[in-house]
């Protein structure tokens, strides 16, 4: 009977304090009745394995004790969708910018990762995690308080259908028309990129006669063209097969990630643009060069931030698609969720 005592002790440990003491007495009695009946049927004592089987059938002690817990939730089904939306908004408008800023430091600030033992990185990510936990905890507390208040005041019962907001018509562009638009802009970019050598004015404007890209940038010309061509392939494929909705975010996630890595190397090139001969020897132009370089650096850094955000968005879209596909396969209705 040692097993039964251990089982009951484990249940007692998991029972909430203040529960009547006779719960265990009753469970013990029920177990002994079951064992006794089985022993009478078999005409012998049950061995340890057989008792273990009976206990296993009854369930884990935590589950058994859980049956005696009061049915309660922190945030009920009525408020849960709003709670989840608030968490998503906090993640999108607060945490995502944090991550972007930290990534920018990591990629663009040359001294940031060079600190000994990655101290900067450790410190800032620790602060980030702390802020995240605090933010989510605060939202949870606010909603839990609201749940308690609304349960008492019942203001969800006091409503007027005539005061509901008017229906908003969303007319999102179709996937195919968006693909064709992207195709047009991508082809334009490829044409521009292929002809930039002949027509540097399309990038430098009137300063094209004075400046030219640094020689080190030449190494990135063909890889960037390659990424644009990969995107072009995706756009052509999606124009023909619009039902392959996963292809766009998957391709753009890959190409944008590669582009972000390239940009992190490009931004380390100094200078990004140089003066053409014979202007490199003229003092007044030499003074203008750092200003132009700073401007180009800022533009590329801005592009880098945009690309990192785009990666996050495409990653999110892929996760959404996977979740939708999984729900579609299971064919299960959305569960009522509570916290």
């Amino acid at each position: 009977m040692d097993l039964i005592d251990r089982y009951l002790q484990a249940i007692q440990f998991a029972l909430p304090k203040g529960q009547p003491a006779d719960i265990l007495r009753e469970l013990s009695e029920d177990l002994h009745s079951q064992i006794e009946e089985k022993e009478n049927r078999l005409g012998r004592k049950l061995n340890e394995d057989e008792i273990a089987t009976i206990l296993k059938q009854r369930g884990h002690p935590i589950r058994v004790a859980g049956g005696y817990l009061p049915r309660q939730h922190l945030i009920g089904p009525a408020l849960f969708p709003f709670y989840r939306a608030a968490l998503k908004m906090a993640a999108l408008f607060f945490l995502l910018p944090w991550v972007v800023v930290l990534l920018c430091f990591l990629i663009f600030d040359r001294e940031y990762p060079a600190e000994p033992m990655g101290f900067n990185l450790f410190r800032d990510w620790a602060v980030f995690l702390q802020v995240t936990m605090f933010g989510f905890a605060l939202i949870t507390i606010v909603f839990a308080a609201f749940e308690r208040t609304q349960a008492k005041l019942k203001f969800l019962d006091r409503w007027d259908p005539r005061k509901l907001p008017a229906v908003v018509q969303h007319r999102a562009p179709s996937f195919r028309s968006r693909t064709l638009t992207e195709l047009f802009f991508n082809v334009s970019f490829i044409v521009w990129w292929l002809t930039i050598g002949q027509y540097p004015r399309t990038f430098f404007g009137f300063a094209a006669g004075l400046f030219m890209p640094a020689a080190a940038l030449g190494a990135y010309y063909w890889p960037i063209l390659g990424l644009a061509l990969v995107n072009l392939m995706q756009q052509i494929t999606n124009a023909v097969r619009p039902q392959w909705t996963w292809l766009r975010p998957a391709t753009l996630l890959v190409t944008n990630t590669i582009f972000a890595v390239m940009l992190s190397f490009i931004l380390k090139i100094e200078p990004l643009v140089v003066l053409k001969e014979p202007y490199s020897h003229e003092a007044r132009y030499a003074e203008a060069a750092p200003i132009v370089n700073t401007a180009v650096f800022c533009i590329l850094a801005g592009v880098g931030i945009g690309v990192v955000i785009a990666c996050a968005v495409y990653g999110y879209q892929i996760v959404q698609l996977l979740l939708r596909r999984r729900q579609g396969r299971s064919g299960m209705p959305a569960p009522v969720q509570t916290l």
Partner: protein, 111 residues
Amino acid sequence: MEHSTNGALFENLRLELRRGSLVLAVLAGLRIEHYGYTLRKTLADQGMTIEESTLYPLLRRLESQGLLTSEWREQDKRNKRFYRLSAEGRLMLKQLLAEWRTINKSLDEIV
């Protein structure tokens, strides 16, 4: 894969369907005094199996709602807790049975 998902869905819906019926079955079963083990056996013999981890918390809840009364008594040299319907429980059972019959009738007509 699809078969097992369908099985899980059926199990979820079956449990939901059974949840309310269990209360009715337990209340009806306790028109005669029982202790937990014999109540469980009686219900199982009549096709209504109920796990111990469901039955005992349910008995506690129904008792705290005033629908059952209980007392510890010795039987076969062991102390057992006997349950039976309270007066309030009897009235509740009557109302619930009427409701259940109405639902059954409606369902028969719908199905």
